[in-house]
Subunit: 555 residues, 2 copies
């Protein structure tokens, strides 16, 4: 049975889910032994531990030109000393060019089948990937499992489904039959979905699989060969994905170089060499705006970026202030604010936040917020796991620097000892009050656990500031609390114009940081935080070109 | 009845046609009195004649800041002296911004209905538009009628249909209902298709409506306000479209500035001022590569271009050489080679073109080609109407210069007296033989009636050159003649990689210059001849952003 036949139903369901946009998951998000097996967690952990200090020899890329790897665990405070095969940009490009001409001729349906099969293989390694993610990104265990495993696989499945649908959007052949009066002009027409060429996927240090697999799978399903260039600080999680893709390719007598891993080191990065190469036609990137802007400006490339943004929370009126505070303080603590969707700017009217029992003043809110953060941080059963560790030193330093911002420091960042990892790099959130007039302070992303409480004249000013930030500096998420229908629509409309999705009145176990595959478009592509969206039709259709040939029917 | 209800069936049929890609036309292409009325042609001509020397006062754009117009008729050899209201870029932008916020709130279905209604109004003016097109572009009567009237209206309908389909691709609302074990997490989600803002559509001098309406209607249906900046040499045809759009807008109590005409003059062009303006988010452009490249590089804009290209004909083997020659000579003569799809480089193997009766030598082909061109040119019932007139002096000069190219001049360009227009600017095709090694000569577009017969080693070299030209310099069309299935697939595959559609073995009444709405994607967007395609899903989906808001279901 062909792999397409094997997964045809899965792919159909995924395509339907893309359109329904209600809840759908191809991979269970709970690390339950009932689902994944009794020993899956322990086995995965053991496998991760065994990889430390070794060569990663799973890739099918022949004749390595070197071995390198500089990953460090934010939990262990030490290098992982895993080395990966390295290749010069020329070798990578030459192999990718060769592989491209094989892959592009594989039927779209078979490509889709092969790719789903690779996800099924990766599923068996979700726990290993979880530990690899913890010890490169600093994510807590649960996030590391979910984000790098099932959620990433769902995002990959979404890209396969969206790509496959676009490839089938127009007929392969049609008879064009034009009545001309006395006769019909008959032309046989055919349309080919021609992949663009080599696709470069540049990873980030905080979400090494979740943010990369959509580009990888989106490019592969549409027939492009892919070079995966991980962040030098977070290689192992995506290396496992690439190894499994290569396994399935090889089993199907295809060149494993259709999807290559391109490892580099901090001292000698190869991203620019690859990106600038004339044969690289597609670039996916997650990271800083400076580098993203550089990539977007390279002529002749199709570039998909997720860059930095300034995410806002607009507080107008609430039903239950304590539930709101609990929800928001969790959002700030979660992975120490190192999510692209984490809130940073909290706009609070100087007159306070309206409730049925009267206004909660700015100071009251600030104190509740601080108390809630402290109570989460100081809960030994929650704090260490929710906060995780800080991926890199720069983020750590930025948190300390934030205490020097011109405003009242409501909460200083602290460290605490993670009971499982004595050397973990930990920083609890810093909370600073900033006056709404000091726009220069809050007009940029302060990546990490940094919350700014911004005092505005009123909700109109809050909305105007949140919109301005999003339009000028980008935004990936926005939280808003209002019990007033008119204000709600005002926020929905103004933030929509700034291409920013709004989560309204979130309380309980759902947070503005979270974006679900098959439902939430992650990044809209409509403001400076990025030019692309997971996974809208453009995200895949831009990876190939429709070319139509025609010939008259022989008379 | 709403205009959407009135045209719902029309729009559904157009969407279906987009997917079937077999023959479909919303507007009849034949200027038949039975279809358009007995007096339609005479009335249209009279109306055009009456507009000469006058102010064009049909637009609903208030308080003109000036009046200007510099159109010249290539047939009359004289200025039309029609003047149009002019406005500063600031006025245009301010009005467009204001109109945008009204238009974006009109339901997508009603926008589509209003736009189809405008096409129905334009239909009543196809003949007037035809004469306006003749006397600005130099097109022959039949092409002027078809290209600027029904074919343009079909392309506009295609953009409306494609845009409407994309706007309805995802649900406006959905309940996201996630099983969490003991309870379900329920989130109400909604998705808004948010238009990008002001859309600038920059026209060209040769196809003032056909090349502009897709951008205009594509932007309007997706909720953007539009500023139409015609080429100063070809305003009237598109001014009539804009006037009719404004009429329908006004009748529906909408601001006519939703679609404005922005006339300028050769000595003071306003295109750059408009394109660079921060509020202009979308730009459509047809014209030179230099200006197109400039527009594509402006940061923060979504740009759709059709630029210059080098179109090839690959001659390998034929069934009937005389039929092939007749087809190709017509393609070269048609509108004096001033179509973006006209062939320029003819690749002929030094060993000749294979036929069942043996090879036709390079020289034999060249002589037949020259004879066929002469016979068409010298046929008083065909020549003047097929060739039309040369739009501008530069093209005319380029044709003469071509005689100085380093190779045998098989045919010099001539002029002849058009029986209806004594002062018409006429230039018949020049045919020059170029050796395949002299790549620098044929590596650029030589716009106008210029045919280069390029002697290659063999068909493999012909294909390689055609592909290289397309990849490096762009190509919008390609003709190929081969009776060999393997060679056919080789051409189909190689030219597909160069994102160039191939017309195989055309003979009789169908020409490589022609691209049909609802079937042929015009320009693929995959090579340097342009970054966009009429009308693929991206062409409309890039004009708006999906933004999703969400809120938990109240417990």
């Amino acid at each position: 049975m062909s792999l397409f036949k094997k997964y045809e139903d899965t792919i159909s369901k995924a395509i339907k889910a893309l359109h329904d946009r209600t809840f759908f998951a191809a991979y269970p998000e709970h690390p339950s032994p009932k689902i994944y097996g009794e020993t899956a967690d322990a086995d995965g952990q053991a496998k991760f531990k065994a990889s430390i200090g070794k060569k990663f020899e799973e890739l099918k890329q022949e004749n390595p030109e070197g071995w390198a790897g500089q990953e460090e665990s934010p939990y262990l405070g030490d290098g992982l000393k895993i080395s990966y095969p390295t290749f010069s940009p020329d070798t990578l490009i030459n192999r990718s060019n060769k592989a491209f001409h094989q892959w592009r001729k594989v039927a779209a349906s078979e490509r889709a089948g092969i790719l789903v099969e690779s996800l099924e293989r990766v599923k068996n390694r979700f726990f290993e990937i979880a530990y690899a993610t913890m010890h490169t990104t600093g994510q807590g265990y649960m996030m590391a499992f979910q984000a790098s495993g099932p959620h990433a696989a769902d995002r990959a499945m979404e890209a396969i489904a969206a790509g496959y649908e676009e490839l089938k959007r127009f007929p392969a052949k049609a008879l064009w039959d034009k009545p001309m009066g006395k006769y019909n002009l008959q032309i046989n027409k055919e349309w080919r979905a021609v992949p663009k060429g080599i696709s470069l996927v540049v990873g980030c240090s905080t979400f090494p699989t979740w943010n990369s697999v959509t580009g990888i799978y989106g490019s592969l399903v549409t027939g492009n060969s892919v070079i995966v260039k991980p962040h030098p600080g977070a290689i192992l999680p995506i290396a496992i994905f690439v190894a499994e893709i290569q396994n399935v390719l090889a089993e199907n007598n295809l060149d494993p170089n259709i999807c290559q891993l391109a490892v580099d080191t901090f001292d000698k990065m190869i991203t620019k060499d690859l990106a600038q190469h004339k044969d690289v036609k597609l670039i996916d990137y997650t990271g800083s705006s400076a580098f993203g802007d550089y990539l977007e400006a390279i002529p002749g490339k199709t570039v998909f970026t997720e860059k930095t943004g300034v995410n806002s929370v607009i507080l107008d009126s609430v039903d239950d202030i304590d539930k709101v505070v609990a929800n928001l303080s969790f959002s700030v603590n979660l992975y120490s604010g190192q999510m692209c969707t984490a809130p940073q700017n909290f706009y609070i009217p100087q007159g306070g936040i309206k409730t049925a029992e009267g206004a909660v003043s700015f100071d009251e809110f600030a104190q509740k917020f601080v108390d809630s953060i402290n109570s989460l941080v100081d809960n030994p059963k929650a704090g260490p796991f929710v906060l995780g560790a800080v991926q890199n030193k720069k983020t750590y330093e930025r948190v300390t620097e934030a205490e020097g911002l011109p405003g009242k420091v409501w909460l200083k960042s602290r460290t605490f000892e993670n009971p499982m990892f004595k050397n973990a790099r930990v920083a609890t959130p810093v909370v600073v009050e900033i006056d709404g007039s000091k726009k220069e302070i809050f007009s940029k992303e302060l990546f990490g656990p940094i919350a700014l409480l911004i005092k505005t004249k009123n909700t109109d000013e809050s909305i105007a500031l949140a919109k301005e930030m999003a339009m000028k500096h980008g935004a990936i998420s926005c939280g808003a609390y209002t019990m007033n229908e008119e204000v709600r629509e005002q926020i929905a409309d103004e933030m929509a114009l700034a291409a920013t999705p709004v989560s309204f009145n979130l309380v309980g176990g759902i947070y503005m940081n979270q974006n679900a595959a098959f439902s939430d478009f992650h990044v809209t592509g409509g403001n400076p935080s990025g030019n692309a969206s997971f996974t809208n039709p453009e995200y895949v259709s831009k990876r190939f070109t429709w070319v139509g040939h025609r010939e008259p029917v022989k008379g």
